[in-house]
Symmetry: C2
């Protein structure tokens, strides 16, 4: 396929075109992604997550500069609607980001958060595959770090960085929101603010409490002032170190398998829905909803009837 | 059905037992919920959402006291893992909550956040139905207000209250995370903190910008100091006012229909998965995953093969 060949040769325009094709016409996705899939699996995928206002995007931007200085190519996928990368931030942030976007070795893509949750997760995975095949060595996925959906998208990464900021509420609370279990690395950003040492101490305490005996990786806690680039190099080092640990422990293989499994599930789900809906009689779905509204039918019975009607014969 | 009869007679133990039955044995859910469904549809369902640390749970507790004083019965469903209602908070919070839990007119249920996203949303809806049939007049659903999943659970409510706190990061950021569109009511809690007036002004400004000409409901912005009960009565009034608006404008019917539709979708999805997996040969799923890991197959082709193998013949 011409466009996939161009992608594999490092053509950025082909990458952008492929992403749009896949995003806008799901029927093309299997053919296109099937062609590039054998050429994926090389990139280090890093999820960066945390509440709005913690400075995730600034951190990602500074990390990208350091990694570029080492000669590696970087992809950035912004799933966070508040990220400057997705156009959601204030003008100042966006101007700072333009510096990155003129670098040929950096490819930034923001995801529309419209549509279903599963659709977003699938689309994010597809964009990551295109960036991987394009030859980006490290791919950041930036998500808002609260809510099971975003946590699930972040979990699909090889390495998950959880960003907190002192004074931005309580890091214990933030951590409780499902982030503690998935963190491979904590960054206390805006470390010049009051409370930074306290945040580090709290995280350390929580790690001591939660660490099981068999755990071989203890998430490091690093302080940064991303807006001034301070402490960022240590984060780059920690990312590399974690990748090394994943490879050596066999976890990398496991994580890749989990990610693929999630992808297959989402593809199947979309296919099953498409087929079910196409098999119903015209107006049948709507009629069933009206009967539920009139309390003539409960949702469980309605679901059963719709499945029957679509030709699903049960067990 | 005996247990449903007891529930309809207002038996709290029957309610708790029903919730456990439904949660632990999904195969019983259709029969049980089918029996109580005709007796639902009376409660006012209120979603309360906001980032951790905004004081959502304290606010819900104080609102509950005021509503109880008016003689109405209240249900509280805590989906937020950081909520004192779900046992996730510090001891002090939980002690304060015990006051509520000894009131016979208040029923509190916390949801486990384990399991799939769709499963959590379905289970929350089922618990709400039980509380509705039990005769609770107002049912609060408390969720962490970031992340598409939690936003979706909140959206299923009739009235959505978005809670922000001054100084807890930037309310603009919080609002951007998808909360602005779903808010029927803003509460600036901890209003004795510095920045409360600024938060109100910002919300007002954003409302002015976002309000379309045809919109007949402008979300009020109320200040509270929930921990001292201040401003809470005005929130109760606003909740009633919004319910009145929903009824009179026909929106209530629309929202109920949307909620049922979401329920049917989740039930169908679980059924389709159950059937697909039961039809595969032993070890087939695992073998397919290994072939993907070896890059012999891409996820799209694997999904297609699994669908075929489960007897799904496509269009």
């Amino acid at each position: 396929m011409e466009i996939v060949k161009r992608l594999l040769a490092g053509d950025r325009k082909a990458a952008a075109r492929l992403m749009s094709l896949i995003e806008n016409d799901a029927s093309q996705a299997p053919r296109l992604l099937g062609a590039l899939y054998p050429h994926t699996g090389r990139a280090h995928i890093v999820g960066v997550t945390g509440f709005p206002g913690t400075g995730k995007s600034t951190l990602v931007g500074e990390l990208t500069k350091k990694i570029r200085a080492q000669g590696e190519k970087v992809g950035i996928v912004a799933v966070d609607p508040t990220s400057p990368f997705s156009g959601g931030a204030l003008l100042g942030d966006r101007i700072r980001m333009q510096e990155l976007s003129t670098d040929e070795g950096v490819f930034i893509r923001s995801m529309a958060t419209r549509g279903s949750l599963g659709g977003l997760a699938r689309a994010t995975g597809d964009v990551v595959k295109v960036l991987d095949a394009l030859g980006q060595d490290l791919i950041f996925i930036e998500t808002v770090g609260a809510g099971q959906s975003e946590v699930e998208i972040a979990r699909a990464a090889h390495t998950v960085v959880v960003v907190v900021a002192p004074g931005l509420g309580d890091e214990i609370q933030a951590i409780k929101a499902g982030l503690f279990e998935i963190a491979d690395l904590f960054v206390v950003n805006k470390a010049d603010r009051e409370g930074a040492e306290g945040a580090v101490a709290t995280l350390n305490y929580l790690l001591d409490m939660n660490q099981a005996d068999g755990d071989r990786w203890r998430p490091p806690i690093l302080k940064t002032i991303a807006i001034r680039g301070e402490g960022v190099e240590a984060v780059v080092d920690a990312l590399k170190e974690h990748l090394g640990y994943l490879k050596e422990s066999g976890q990398l293989e496991l994580k890749n398998r989990e990610r693929s499994e999630g992808e297959v599930k989402r593809i199947i789900e979309e296919a099953l829905w498409g087929r079910l809906l196409s098999r119903l009689k015209e107006g049948e779905w709507e009629r069933m909803m009206l009967r539920i509204a009139d309390r003539e039918l409960d949702p469980y019975t309605a679901a059963e009837k719709l499945l029957e009607s679509s030709g699903d014969t049960g067990k």
